[in-house]
């Protein structure tokens, strides 16, 4: 009986990958545990082992194929006595596109949005050449550029050096800058965050990477009590010019302790600046600004966004200022305000609303502290309605704050209550279906927008 070998999901967020190399050829006998192929995910090159024993009947996807979706049959294994003809008879879809049950691998990952929406306020001059870059590459480039420009900038964290970054963000940095400036730390967040703050007191510009912000809870005393408050407590004599960065929020199927959005936590603290980019150009431009900023900056990335591609301007020194929201799509009927991965729902919802004749304006806050409430207010003065979107918990959410600002400063312009679309008020469940419901959904955003439009 021929067995199909399927493209495996090798990380929580992997939806597709490159079949880099076959280590066996048709006709070879394989045993379970044999390494049969090398597969490149968005994060690393992984060895792929055979699960069953048999003979490689047919290789369906040749080596070097990129963008092979998870669960695509890549080869057929036959048993002793079976012929290759039997294998060919097995269902063997040849085109990669035909089979894409990728959802099975990463069910919570929202579909790639269509960033076709017109960006009303681009951050670069008209006519600037742009290139497609992933958020991951943009972040790496930002760090590399700033490290080239300033010897005092260094990167420290778990697996940032020899491993090339747990999420491959620091890929290549060790080679370029050496072990003095790209420092692998032990798994001791409280300790190395404190050492980073001390180094900033001592005149350096540390970038402290947390493998994820879930682990930064171990270090939050140093972030808040030491980094955020010292400038004030010292009467302006010394502070912590540094960046704490890493993925924040839910990834996919990693459960309650690895899936929390800390945007509201850090945005609460005077003395910190907080950025949470959505696009690759914002990731790059804001990270460069963050590294140059003389204050401690919390830089909240997102694992699911790392692999998304966007236009990034080909400028020698492209930065995005803090405290300036970006209007991704102009509209007249309702204002959708979001940031980070929340933008995927906001933009999808705007597309769906357009089909129903509702024109949504979509605002990406980009930085939460400082927060560009003026842009939100100006938009609401036009649309008279507002829905906020974030993945964080609903109590004390960023959306709550925006609602309060609108109550105080734009009350007379509101034709409906502001609705906050948030993650649910529950720890993140593991089960695929429950996880999907625990996060905010595009359908909820659409429903909220229709409800404030009384439709």
């Amino acid at each position: 009986m021929a067995t199909e070998i399927l493209m495996p999901a090798l990380s929580p967020t992997m939806e597709e990958g490159t079949l880099a190399k076959w280590l066996v050829k048709e006709g070879d006998t394989v045993s379970s545990g044999d390494v049969i192929a090398e597969i490149e995910t968005d994060k690393a090159t992984m060895e792929f082992e055979a699960v069953d024993e048999g003979i490689m009947g047919k290789i369906l996807i040749p080596e070097g194929s990129a963008d092979v979706k998870v669960n695509t049959p890549i080869a057929v294994l036959i048993e002793e006595g079976e012929s290759l003809a039997d294998a060919s008879a097995a269902p063997a879809p040849s085109a990669v596109e035909e089979t894409a049950p990728a959802a099975a691998a990463a069910p919570s990952a929202p579909a790639t949005p269509a960033p076709a929406a017109v960006v009303a306020e681009p951050d670069w001059p008209e006519g600037t050449k742009v290139k497609q870059q992933t958020v991951r590459e943009a972040l790496r480039d930002a760090m590399a550029e700033e490290m080239r420009a300033n010897d005092d900038v260094f990167l420290m964290g778990e697996e940032v050096g020899e491993y090339q970054g747990a999420y491959k963000i620091s890929q290549g940095l060790l080679d370029e800058f050496g072990a003095k400036r790209v420092i692998d730390t032990p798994i001791t967040e409280h300790g190395f965050a404190g050492i980073g703050v001390g180094a900033a007191f001592g005149g350096l510009k540390p970038i402290v990477e947390f493998m994820t912000f879930n682990f930064a809870m171990q270090a939050i005393d140093q972030i808040i009590n030491s980094a955020a408050k010292t400038l004030y407590m010292s009467g302006g004599q010394m502070g912590a010019p540094m960046v704490f960065r890493g993925p924040n929020g839910a990834a996919a199927r990693v459960g309650a302790q690895h899936s929390q959005d800390y945007a509201a936590w850090y945005a609460h603290i005077p003395g910190l600046k907080v950025a949470m980019p959505y696009s690759a150009s914002d990731a790059k431009g804001l990270l460069k600004s963050a590294i140059r900023d003389p204050n401690p900056v919390i830089f909240l990335e997102n694992e699911i966004l790392y692999g998304r591609s966007f236009d990034v301007p080909e400028l020698e020194d492209f930065t995005v200022p803090f405290g300036k929201a970006r209007i991704w799509r102009e509209g007249t009927d309702v204002t959708l305000v979001s940031f980070g991965i929340g933008m995927t729902y906001a933009l999808e919802a705007a597309d769906k609303l357009a089909e129903d004749g509702i024109s949504a304006e979509v605002i990406d806050l980009r930085t939460l502290r400082p927060m560009d409430t003026a842009t939100v207010i100006a938009s609401v003065q036009k649309t008279n309605r507002c829905v906020t979107i974030e993945e964080g918990f609903p109590v004390g959410a960023i959306g709550n704050h925006i609602s309060a600002v609108l109550m105080e400063q734009a009350f007379d312009y509101l034709d409906a209550p502001v609705i906050n679309c948030t993650g649910k008020d529950v720890p993140m469940p593991y089960a695929a279906n429950l996880e999907k419901h625990a996060l905010v959904t595009t359908a909820e955003v659409v429903e909220a927008a229709k409800s404030v439009c009384y439709r």
């Binding site: 260094f154 003095k180 730390t185 032990p186 001791t188 409280h190 300790g191 190395f192 965050a193 404190g194 050492i195 980073g196 703050v197 001390g198 180094a199 900033a200 007191f201 001592g202 005149g203 350096l204 005393d221 140093q222 009590n225 030491s226 010292t230 400038l231 004030y232 407590m233 010292s234 009467g235 302006g236 004599q237 010394m238 502070g239 010019p241 005077p270 003395g271 600046k273 600004s289 140059r292 900023d293 003389p294 204050n295 803090f322």
Partner: protein, 331 residues
């Protein structure tokens, strides 16, 4: 005091010995005055006095060079005076006035001086330990040959982040001296009730960090140990631990009734082991100074302290707009 005897004694001149006497006396009188001002309601909140522990900072400052850094906990007045910060500015910070080191916004526990390389003044027990290692990290990165004195107490020595820091400091050979000021009480908890093994200087052994115990009531012993530790760090051999056995005469803070120890215990320490009396005896018995010399020093100190109290009383409260400054540095 098990660690009473420290054999190594540095050769110091009569002038140096007099300077130690003067510096320790300044701390003692300053703290007594602070206690008084607290009682008068001029100083608020938490106020942790250093009385009894003076030989620790004075001895170590005698081993430091210009450019070396220091960082400590909230029991920080002595460290600031010992590294040369202005008593007026320290006292005015205690009273929350404009003339204070932090313009009145930090208070007793949170004071800094970039000029004197004093990096706080930290209110969270043991938070200064990784911070101190970070300062040393910056110095090593810059290759400037500086060392950092990172002070913490016997209470802080049980915090997890201390050991995370020991590991990294040893791994990366950071030029940091971990100074454990063991005054034997973590607030109201005696060391034997809080600490599974009594010898804190051995706490670095698992990380390959050398340590030694020092008689903290003997300024010369502290200086000798400090010089050894400084030489070790400056030569690139990585961190060093000094457990300095000392004793605080006053309560943990001003609001501590100190019921956890007997009056006799405190009195015995004061009369038999006082670090200032010790230097006074050395000066007089060695005929390095006369009673009159010491009286002149006493008088000078008295004036400095009463001037600082006057400054701290008369310096205005910070302007209300100070509420909104120093939150962010200008980008």
């Amino acid at each position: 005091m098990a660690a009473r005897k420290t054999t190594a004694k540095p050769n110091v001149s009569a002038d140096e010995l007099k300077a130690y006497y003067r510096d320790m006396l300044l701390i003692r009188r300053f703290e007594e005055k602070a206690g008084q001002l607290y009682g008068m309601g001029l100083i608020g909140g938490f106020c942790h006095l250093y009385i009894g522990q003076e030989a620790v900072v004075v001895g170590l400052e005698a081993a430091a060079e210009e450019g070396d850094k220091r960082i400590t906990s909230y029991r920080d007045h002595g460290h600031m005076l010992a590294c040369g910060m202005d008593p007026d500015g320290v006292m005015a910070e205690l009273t929350g006035r404009e003339g204070g080191y932090s313009k009145g916004k930090g208070g007793s526990m949170h004071m800094f001086s970039k000029e004197k390389h004093f990096y706080g003044g930290h209110g969270i027990v043991a938070a200064q330990v990784p911070l101190g290692a970070g300062l040393a990290f910056a110095d090593k990165y810059k290759g400037n040959g500086r060392v950092t004195f990172t002070y913490f107490g016997d209470g802080a020595a049980n915090q997890g982040q201390v050991y995370e820091t020991f590991n990294m400091a040893a791994l990366w050979d950071l030029p940091v001296i971990f100074v454990i000021e063991n005054n034997q009480y973590a607030m109201g908890t005696a060391q034997k009730r809080s600490t599974s093994t009594p010898d804190l200087y051995t706490r670095g052994e698992a990380f390959g960090i050398k340590g030694e115990v020092v008689d903290g009531m003997d300024v010369l012993a502290v200086k000798a140990a400090g010089e050894k530790a400084v030489a070790h760090c400056r030569s690139g051999k990585g961190p060093y631990i000094l457990e300095i056995k000392t004793y605080r005469y006053r309560g943990h803070s001003m609001s501590d009734p100190a019921k956890y120890r007997t009056r006799e215990e405190v009195q015995k320490m004061r009369s038999e082991r006082d670090p200032i009396d010790h230097v006074r005896d050395l000066l007089l018995q060695g005929k390095h100074a006369t009673e009159d010399d010491l009286k002149a020093i006493d008088k000078e100190i008295k004036k400095i302290v009463s001037d600082s109290a006057e400054f701290a009383r008369t310096s205005p409260e910070p302007a209300l707009n100070e509420l909104w400054t120093d939150i962010y540095a200008d980008a």
